[in-house]
């Protein structure tokens, strides 16, 4: 624990904030969704970090490998990853339809077109 023991969480917060920044600062809808995915992946890392035990091994039971890391965060994140890609696909599908309707994926241009109606 020579690094204060919390450094992992701090770097994960930096990664989260990078994703958050992309979501709020970028006007391009595709890039926004990529930012959301960056944010999501860093939340996954945070969860898995919480489950890690010093000296632990992967939770596949076998004599002589105690202790095991906490398997519960693994289960939660395992399902969250696949649900995440399914919802990302839904978001990207909406972006494709927006592009077909407005001929643009830039937030400002879409807003201007809505105003000028």
């Amino acid at each position: 624990m020579s690094f204060g023991g919390l450094y992992n969480y701090w770097i994960v917060i930096l990664l989260m904030m990078t994703g958050f920044y992309v979501v709020i600062a970028s006007g391009n809808l595709v890039k926004k969704i990529i930012g959301l995915n960056l944010f999501q992946a860093s939340v996954f890392i945070l969860y898995i970090s919480v489950g890690k035990v010093a000296g632990g091994s992967a939770p596949v039971l076998q004599d002589g490998f105690e202790p095991y890391s906490n398997p519960l965060p693994h289960v939660l994140i395992l399902t969250a990853i696949v649900v995440g890609v399914a919802t990302t696909a839904l978001g990207l599908a909406l972006v494709v339809r927006i592009r077909e309707a407005y001929d643009s994926v830039e937030e400002d241009e879409i807003h201007d077109q809505d105003e000028s109606l």
């Binding site: 920044y21 939770p59 890391s69 519960l72 289960v75 839904l90």
Partner: protein, 185 residues
């Protein structure tokens, strides 16, 4: 000790990749950065003992997500418009949120602490009882499918719904009618 060094190296690479994704304005390059980010995250999961998660992240994040993003970029164009003004407000919001989160971590148990509350609650029960109650070695599978079967049913329903949603929005195949090519949409 070795794990901590590997950990820090991968986290640093992750940070570099994420910052590069901010600076780039070519969406193709941003999608590639996301693929690299996912691959690094899955290496991180192996280091942190989550082999099942690493498996999934490598297949989903690096494979399917990136392919879907590239498919979308192919449809909508690969160049992002450069922002017209300096992004001062977003930087301020992000800094304040980050500072608040860092302040929140000060109360958290130390990384890899075996006495942390997260390791004391139901996890020991699952690890100790799973061999008798379920009888399979991989505890992740036994929690996923048996102890938390309701959860997984819900997740599967979400995936089902998302699939139906994409099917409804994009459609599997638009029928080509002779003589009506220009009028679709």
């Amino acid at each position: 000790m070795l794990i901590e060094f590997v950990n820090i190296a991968i986290l640093a690479l992750l940070a570099v990749t994420a910052l590069a994704a901010i600076r780039l304005h070519d969406l193709f390059a941003v999608a590639m950065m996301f693929g690299i980010y996912s691959l690094l995250a899955s290496v991180m999961f192996v280091v942190l003992d989550a082999i099942d998660v690493a498996f999934t992240e490598a297949a989903v994040g690096v494979g399917i997500s990136t392919v879907l993003m590239l498919g979308t970029i192919g449809l909508v164009g690969r160049h992002e418009q450069k922002p017209a003004h300096r992004p001062l407000l977003p930087i301020l919001v992000v800094t304040i949120t980050g500072a608040a989160l860092v302040y929140g971590t000060l109360d958290m148990p130390l990384f890899m602490d075996p006495a942390a509350p997260a390791q004391q609650h139901v996890a020991p029960y699952y690890l100790n009882e799973s061999p008798e109650q379920i009888g399979i070695p991989n505890v992740v599978t036994s929690i996923l499918a048996s102890y938390r079967g309701y959860d997984t049913l819900g997740e599967l329903a979400v995936i089902f719904t998302a699939g139906i949603g994409v099917l409804g929005i994009l459609g599997l195949r638009r029928r080509k009618r002779p003589g009506h090519e220009g009028t679709s949409e």
